[in-house]
């Protein structure tokens, strides 16, 4: 009777010790894992911060302007190139008589007014010797280049502030 009780007690003791040890070690393991993961998260955060800082340096307006001036033959967007939809001429209705329609539309816009021609004239008189590139095409010889834009209409996009790159390149 006493022996049986002893055996049970000893067995219980050993079992309890084993369980406690197991719990303790698994807890330690988990704690280490948590700490390691936290550490990794911190390291990743630091890396992200370093990359962000690098990106900020690379995309700083000063640097972009320097590079744009050096490699892109662009010029600032003139304010006259910014327009709105209301200033667009009325769209020509296509019917059987295209020439008649054009004449009609010109009449509707005030007879002698020729909005497209007026814009072309303006461009010719204002920027005869400057390159007209406001895109990413670099004219091969800016001084001698054919004014590309003379035949292109400035696109009234109805938006403003979109010409950041052009703003940055100073010619």
């Amino acid at each position: 009777m006493l022996r049986g009780l002893n055996l049970i007690a000893v067995g219980g003791l050993v079992a309890a010790a084993v369980v406690v040890y197991d719990v303790k070690y698994s807890a330690t393991y988990e704690a280490q894992k948590v700490a390691r993961l936290n550490n990794e998260i911190n390291q990743e955060r630091e890396k992200i911060a370093a990359l962000k800082a690098e990106w900020s340096v690379l995309s700083s307006p000063d640097r972009i302007q320097r590079l744009a001036t050096k490699y892109l033959g662009m010029k600032p967007l003139p304010l006259s190139h910014i327009g709105n939809f209301a200033s667009l001429p009325e769209r020509i209705q296509i019917s059987g008589d295209p020439i008649g329609d054009i004449i009609n539309s010109l009449d509707r816009n005030g007879g002698e007014h020729d909005p497209i021609g007026r814009i072309i004239e303006k461009l010719e008189s204002a920027h005869q010797d400057e390159p007209e590139t406001t895109g990413s095409i670099k004219p091969q010889e800016p001084a001698e280049a054919e004014p590309i834009g003379e035949t292109e209409l400035p696109e009234p996009t109805g938006t403003i502030g979109g010409g950041e790159e052009e703003q940055d390149s100073q010619q």
Binding site: N6, L13, A49, D62, G161
Partner: protein
């Protein structure tokens, strides 16, 4: 030994209650001891061990981080990055000091030999040897195997835009404490205490968002640098203010500095002329004078003031630069920038009224913003008629340019004085703290006068087609050795656009332009402002309009009739 054996023998052969009781007692004693041990084990197992966690997290983290600073679009203006630092513990011994010095100098030839030896032979517990160690250098040092020399990770403040916003951001010292500008302001908000308590580690701090726009700031600085070269000026400064909210979108003061590099705080380039300098703002003050007279009802736009002859006050004579020698109406006084006319307008209001108005407009007190640097205006001690006469055209009262800008913004935004801020602010918040200083009708008239000045007056060169710019020029003579110098000038231009519903105010200040023939504000500060407006307008989303009415249309019919 014999006794023990004897007792064992007696135990084995003795029968009866006594030995049974003894055995039970022993069992109980053992059981109690084991219970105590088991209980203790459970207790230890349940308690988390802080030592374990510390061993795994990087023990070399020495972070006292600062919040990121962002511009209004979220672009980074300042951030922290981690870098390694080399340290030694001479108290614990680093082996032979001479050997250690030689070995370290193979990796870092730039380390000063004597200083290094001193540091290593001292008995200090911790000495810092070098900052910003690269990964390769760390590897090299580890290979040397010098005892008690190690690395710590520490955070370093980085300003990606370098010089771009130096005066607004300020800077930090080697211990990451703010020493100037917004950085110092961040510390004053309790961050320094957090650092001391060890809470401000990691990246837990939410970023600080400024009102500044990095693109506008860059455009402003670029144009000012160009103009500085053109006019060979000693210094240039400029700022952009949103007149509806009081937000400062850009603030540039040239020369400036790179906050990434430690420098001498007393260096002249560290001076933010717009907040810490006080200047006599010259004729730009006439806008305040005229607004005061119109608002008080002492004058209307049709009132006439005699500017035929110079005004004499003892030895002092007030003359006109663009002298007309006739009777001028108020708009003429403004557009010809007549000193005599402005003085007479101010005298019509009276000394006390003038003083009270300037006080109301915040021109006589120190203006405090987030930047810790501020300057007290220089106000005359005894304020008589002559002071009112000269202050009416911006001489005899020196204020911080930011202060003058705040007042000018109130003249055009409908009459609300809004304290300027470097932090992002909504219009609703601005309206809450705004103070009405002049009537909305007076503000309408001021907009008309400012626009008229660009159309017909001294500010013609500030015109930007499509942006309806209005503005006032100011040229003041600097005080050199106690008297006004005719060579050393300060030219100022305050431009507002678009004048029918003002959104932004641009201030350009040129200190000592040397280029001959370009000495007055209308010839240098005004065209520079025009170029800046043409460049920042599209960035700020202001739509250029090409069908704008002449200035007269700014006044309502009733106002025109009344005048």
């Amino acid at each position: 030994m014999k006794r023990l054996l004897a007792s064992l023998r007696s135990f084995r052969f003795t029968e009866g209650g006594v030995s049974r009781q003894r055995i039970a007692l022993l069992v109980l004693a053992f059981a109690a001891v084991h219970l105590v041990i088991a209980g203790r084990l459970v207790l230890i197992g349940m308690k988390s061990d802080p030592q374990v966690a510390r061993r795994v997290t990087n023990p070399d983290m020495l972070t006292s981080t600062r919040p990121d600073i962002l511009d209004r679009e979220g672009k980074q203006l300042a951030t922290d990055i981690q870098s390694a630092m080399l340290y030694a513990e001479p108290k614990k011994g680093v082996g032979y000091v001479d050997d250690a010095v030689d070995q370290l100098r193979t990796v870092f030839p730039d380390l000063d030999e004597r200083e290094l030896r001193e540091k290593l032979s001292s008995k200090k517990g911790f000495v810092r040897l070098r900052r910003e160690i690269t990964a390769e250098q760390q590897h090299e040092v580890r290979k040397l195997g010098i005892p008690h020399v190690g690395f710590l990770q520490e955070s370093k403040r980085v300003y990606p835009a370098a010089n771009e916003a130096s005066h607004v951001l300020g800077g930090v010292n080697v211990d990451s404490a703010g020493i100037a500008g917004i950085e110092k302001w961040i510390d004053s908000g309790g961050l320094a205490d957090l650092h001391l308590a060890g809470f401000a580690t990691g990246r837990s701090l939410s970023p600080v968002q400024l009102a500044l726009d990095l693109d506008v700031q860059h455009a402003m600085r670029d144009e000012l640098l160009k103009a500085q070269g053109e006019y060979q000026a000693k210094s240039m400064s400029g700022m952009v203010l949103d007149v509806r909210t009081g937000e400062i979108l850009s603030m540039v003061s040239l020369p400036d500095y790179d906050p990434n590099k430690p420098g001498n705080p007393a260096d002249l380039s560290r001076l933010n002329r717009l907040t810490t300098g006080v200047y006599e703002m010259g004729s730009t003050f006439k806008a305040l004078t005229v607004a005061m007279a119109l608002d008080s009802g002492k004058a209307t736009l049709a009132s006439r003031f005699d500017a035929t002859a110079p005004l004499h006050y003892g030895r002092f004579t007030i003359t006109d630069f663009h002298a007309q020698r006739r009777v001028l109406t108020v708009p003429e006084v403004f557009t010809y920038s007549s000193n005599i006319g402005a003085a007479k307008i101010a005298l019509a209001v009276g000394v006390d009224g003038h003083k009270a108005f300037l006080k109301k407009m915040g021109q006589l007190d120190r203006l405090r913003t987030e930047l810790p640097e501020s300057a007290m205006p220089l106000v005359p001690k005894s304020w008589g008629e002559i002071n009112t006469a000269t202050i009416s055209f911006g001489h005899g009262l020196a204020v911080a340019p930011l202060q003058a800008v705040m007042a000018t913004a109130a003249l055009v935004n409908g009459g609300l004085l809004i304290p300027p801020t470097f932090l992002k602010r909504s219009q609703a918040e601005a309206e809450k703290i705004a103070k009405r200083v002049i009537k909305p009708e007076t503000s309408d008239k001021m907009r008309y006068l400012l626009r008229l000045n660009v159309e017909k007056g001294t500010a013609k060169r500030a015109e930007v087609e499509g942006y309806y710019v209005g503005g006032k020029t100011g040229t003041s003579e600097k005080v050199v050795h106690g008297r006004y110098s005719h060579e050393k000038l300060l030219t100022v231009f305050t431009g507002v656009f678009p004048c029918d519903a003002p959104q932004y105010l641009v201030l350009v200040m040129i200190d000592e332009p040397k280029n001959r023939g370009h000495s007055t504000a209308g010839l240098n500060a005004a065209p520079t402002t025009g170029q800046i407006i043409a460049r920042i307008g599209p960035l700020l989303g202001v739509e250029p309009r090409h069908d704008l009415p002449p200035a007269d249309q700014l006044l309502t019919v009733s106002q025109r009739v009344a005048n």
